[in-house]
């Protein structure tokens, strides 16, 4: 048979023939021509190349297949001339093969890769926070008005003594373990430099400082310009050990060993080379433009005794003056694992639930591995109390905390404090379009492209974060006051103030909460 590509003057094609994509655009961009003033703001704002200006036609043209529905153009269009719709093209109704499933197979058939995504699990697993309601005082004890009476949210994270030792003649107290002081029981969760921009780090650090809470560097090290925020910083040490050196470990007020993450339990991290700019490379201590791959496990931690050694080593490095925490993804036997972590000497355990977000993770992992944070908090708190070691360490919960009620419910279930990340990014403009892994974030958050990162002014970002936290704090105080409580420690682990609505007996048992009306 003749070579099909063998005609004279033509080059021979190498490899398989190109594949035409069967994926229709997910979103459609509409432009109201009557409103459009051709200012080209949308063209400049779109970082996904979904728009261009055609001078000949004097019209804004679109490439719908590039649109990710990040809403940047919609928000910035001065005449509200544009909007984004879901592509009305429908697949035949099918409860099993939904559009999402079909699209995923098509994409995979075209690329042969692992489908990546950003943010947290978006599937409709039960959100237990939405099935828990809080209590309020009526008649038998008075509710307290937080605008007129003191209302305390101050929280300490770290080991507490089992027995208070006080020498009353001298007024001296017994041994004090290092603790972290929070004015609101909310902290900014780990987001590494590289996965988010320096300006995001700066906004988080400044907001944490102003509000009296802590932010977490994530696993990508700490940019030299942010060392001044050390007193409100938790530095993280993950399996890649990016940017870890003794100055870094001593730069913050605590060190967190990251074992796992709710969005991708059991697997490591992957920062694409595109995001490894000069500054990122210097902070992470890796060559510019190379992929930063965190191994799935720490290769010096294959068992709990190895973890104990690392905790000990970090305590030595930080002169036993800083709490050492361990962050794990909430998985099936979190309770036993958390118990082991506390016994290994950790001062706190951070639990990251199923809905915890990520800068990049395989979609299949994000959506199918791990357990909801509410159940993990309940079982870990219960187990630590059963074993009589709850005083030895604090519990920090993360992964799906959306508002002040979620914070309070998490604390009532047994957490000492919560970590938030998605909520913080939303406060900075994030629209949860789940494209963090592309490095093209049009809001300038999950990108290191200087043209995009300058979209976030750290000062304004800080204001937005502080406002959100102030609002949450006021709401928490109102809810506490309503329950007749004026200090956060009286709701911590106090599940009597929670009731379940529409939960099964088994779920109530795990949460150790009674059903509403009972």
């Amino acid at each position: 048979m003749k070579d099909p590509g063998g005609k004279k003057g033509k080059t021979k094609r190498v490899g398989p023939p190109p594949i035409k994509s069967y994926l229709p655009p997910e979103f459609m961009i509409d432009i109201d021509d009557a409103r459009c003033i051709r200012c080209e703001v949308c063209v400049r704002q779109c970082s996904y190349d979904a728009r261009y200006y055609d001078a000949a036609l004097d019209r804004i043209m679109t490439r719908d297949e590039n649109c990710v529905n990040c809403n940047r153009c919609v928000v910035f269009c001065p005449t509200q001339a544009t909007r984004i719709r879901y592509n009305p093209m429908t697949y035949r109704n099918n409860s099993n093969w939904r559009p999402e499933g079909i699209r995923t197979v098509l994409r995979q058939a075209e690329t042969g890769g692992v489908i990546l995504t950003g943010m947290g699990c978006d599937r409709d697993y039960r959100i237990y926070f939405d099935h828990l309601v809080l209590n309020a005082s009526q008649v038998t004890n008075p509710s307290i008005d937080p605008l007129r009476e003191p209302m305390e949210l101050r929280t300490y994270i770290g080991r507490k003594p089992d027995v208070g030792e006080i020498d009353l003649s001298s007024g001296e107290v017994g041994h004090e373990y290092p603790n972290l002081q929070l004015e609101i029981p909310v902290m900014f969760s780990a987001m590494s430099y590289g996965s988010v921009s320096l300006n995001v780090h700066k906004a988080l650090a400044m907001a944490a400082k102003q509000v009296g809470i802590l932010w977490n560097t994530g696993e990508g090290g700490l940019h030299p310009s942010l060392y001044e925020y050390g007193p409100c910083t938790i530095v993280q040490c993950a399996s890649g050990r990016f940017g870890v050196h003794s100055d870094y470990l001593n730069a913050g007020v605590a060190v967190e060993i990251k074992i796992g993450q709710g969005a991708k339990p059991g697997i490591g991290g992957h920062l694409p080379g595109e995001k490894v700019s000069k500054d990122v490379s210097e902070t992470r201590m890796i060559p510019e433009g190379t992929d930063a791959l965190s191994p799935a496990p720490h290769h010096d931690i294959y068992s709990i005794e190895d973890l104990a050694q690392l905790i000990h080593a970090l305590k030595e490095t930080t002169d036993w003056k800083r709490p050492i925490g361990v962050k794990i993804a909430a998985v099936h036997n979190s309770a036993a694992i958390a118990s082991g972590i506390i016994r290994a000497g950790a001062d706190y355990v951070a639990l990251d639930g199923l809905r915890g977000a990520t800068g990049a993770a395989p979609k299949i992992i994000r959506d199918n591995v791990g357990i909801p944070i509410e159940l993990a908090i309940a079982s870990v708190d219960h187990r630590l109390r059963e074993e009589g070691i709850r005083n030895r360490g604090s519990i920090i919960a993360s992964g799906g905390i959306r508002n002040s009620a979620d914070v309070l419910k998490a604390i009532a279930l047994g957490a000492d404090a919560v970590y938030i990340a998605t909520s913080a990014l939303i406060a900075l403009g994030c629209q949860v379009c789940q494209r963090c892994h592309t490095g093209k974030c049009a809001w300038g958050l999950t990108t290191t492209d200087p043209w995009l990162t300058k979209r976030l002014n750290p000062e304004i970002g800080k204001e937005r974060l502080v406002n959100m936290l102030k609002g949450w704090a006021m709401e928490i105080k109102e809810m506490l006051g309503g329950m007749g409580i004026n200090s956060i420690e009286s709701i911590r682990g106090n599940r009597f103030h929670l009731r379940g609505v529409g939960l099964t007996t088994e779920e109530l048992k795990v949460l150790n909460v009674r059903h509403a009306g009972e």
Partner: protein, 395 residues
């Protein structure tokens, strides 16, 4: 908890609520020089606060009433059935040396409806336990009482200290006082409680004072922090069978004062601590102290309205919550200390007071026997917890 809920919980909490809540009237009087006096005035004072109760529980605690049996644990037991008495009287000789046992004298003329059988036993732990330190003896007795209360159906030990006794039942406290013929007992501390349960019918055991060893608590209030107070205590081995705030208060006092050896001022700072904004303004030493206390015992902060009178041999302590949501009045006259929900109740028994005042929230009022009187009323051996440096003077 052995056998599921145990009969006490069932009886005390028929609707199986998270907890049983109640409001109340309190009164306490004490002679700091250890003079003993009968229960007449305590009955008069609580009668004056009749409306603070609803007849669903009244009770008394009196200290110094059994001088002849000073070194023995006095167990007051209520039996709701004949089998309970049989079971308990089989149990007791197995675990104690019984010095005396009798029905608690009472006046049937004033009997409230359907009283249980009420008996008292003066007992000593067996020899091998007697050789141990006093705390171990106490722990032994507590453990055995818990066994009776949770394992023997229809039996309930409601008083177990030395040289003291609790008398309580279903009815108004003035009737209970007459029923138990309290004008015949002489003590140096008398504490009374009139109960107003909000969400249960009363029963005999549910009346105050709530007691463990010689510790008694009478309490008015509702703890919004109950859930965590209880879970914290459970970590230290306490089983909250009664589901009441007062029970939690009593166990907390037992843990902090008897087991952890903390003095009353520290306990007050734990149950009703100053606010952080006050703490932040204190000098460094005090600041460190309060910070340490709140960090260590935050779970025992008693949040919500409460007033308690907490007593044990030689000491009567009044305390109200940190923002004083429940009233308490304190007063003194010569060597007498008075505590009451209402000042009028004090003035009924002593119109000419040296001083009467309303204490600040979280500020304990402590009536303590003088050292001489303490010697006279010494029960047996030091009360201090052993092997701990945390004993000390008041702050």
């Amino acid at each position: 908890m052995p056998g599921g809920k145990g009969h006490i919980a069932r009886r005390n909490n028929p609707y199986n609520q998270d907890k049983v809540s109640e409001a109340c009237g309190l009164f306490g009087m004490m002679s700091k020089t250890g003079k003993v006096f009968d229960g007449t005035n305590a009955i008069r004072a609580i009668t004056n606060m009749h409306d603070r109760g609803n007849g669903l529980g009244g009770g008394f605690a009196a200290y110094g009433i059994y001088p002849e049996f000073r070194e023995y644990y006095a167990l007051h037991v209520m039996y709701m059935s004949k089998e309970a008495k049989k079971g308990t009287e089989a149990f007791l000789p197995e675990h104690f040396k019984i010095i005396a046992g009798e029905e608690i004298p009472h006046d049937d003329k004033h009997a409230p409806p359907d009283p249980p059988q009420l008996w008292r036993y003066f007992v000593a732990p067996p020899r091998e336990v007697l050789n141990e330190e006093p705390t171990e003896q106490d722990n032994y007795v507590v453990q055995k009482i818990m066994e009776i209360n949770t394992k023997i159906e229809d039996a309930y030990v409601f008083s177990s200290g030395k040289d003291m006794g609790v008398f309580k039942g279903l009815g108004y406290p003035e009737d209970i006082g007459r029923f138990f013929r309290l004008h015949r007992y002489k003590g140096y501390i008398w504490v009374v409680h009139s109960r107003y349960p909000t969400n249960t019918q009363g029963w005999w055991g549910g009346a105050h004072p709530f007691s463990i060893l010689d510790w008694t608590v009478v309490h008015n209030g509702e703890l919004s922090s109950y859930g965590i107070n209880r879970r914290y205590l459970e970590m230290y081995g306490y089983h909250c069978t009664m589901h009441t705030d007062s029970e939690v208060m009593a166990y907390a006092a037992d843990l902090l004062m008897r087991k952890h050896g903390l003095p009353v001022n520290v306990v007050a700072s734990i149950m009703a601590p100053p606010f952080w904004e006050q703490i932040d303004r204190m000098d460094e030493k005090k600041r460190n102290f309060h910070k340490y206390i709140r960090m260590t015992y935050g779970s025992l902060l008693m949040n919500g309205p409460f007033t308690i009178i907490l007593s044990h041999s030689g000491e009567m302590i009044g305390l109200t919550d940190r923002i004083r949501l429940r009233p308490i009045t304190a007063a003194t006259k010569d060597d007498m200390v008075y505590l009451a929900s209402e000042e009028a109740a004090i003035r009924v028994v002593e119109p000419n007071l040296d001083r009467a005042w309303i204490p600040m929230g979280g500020e304990p009022v402590v009536g303590k026997l003088t050292p001489k009187a303490m010697e006279e009323h010494e029960v047996s051996g030091p009360r201090e917890a052993h092997g701990r440096k945390a004993r000390g003077k008041d702050l």
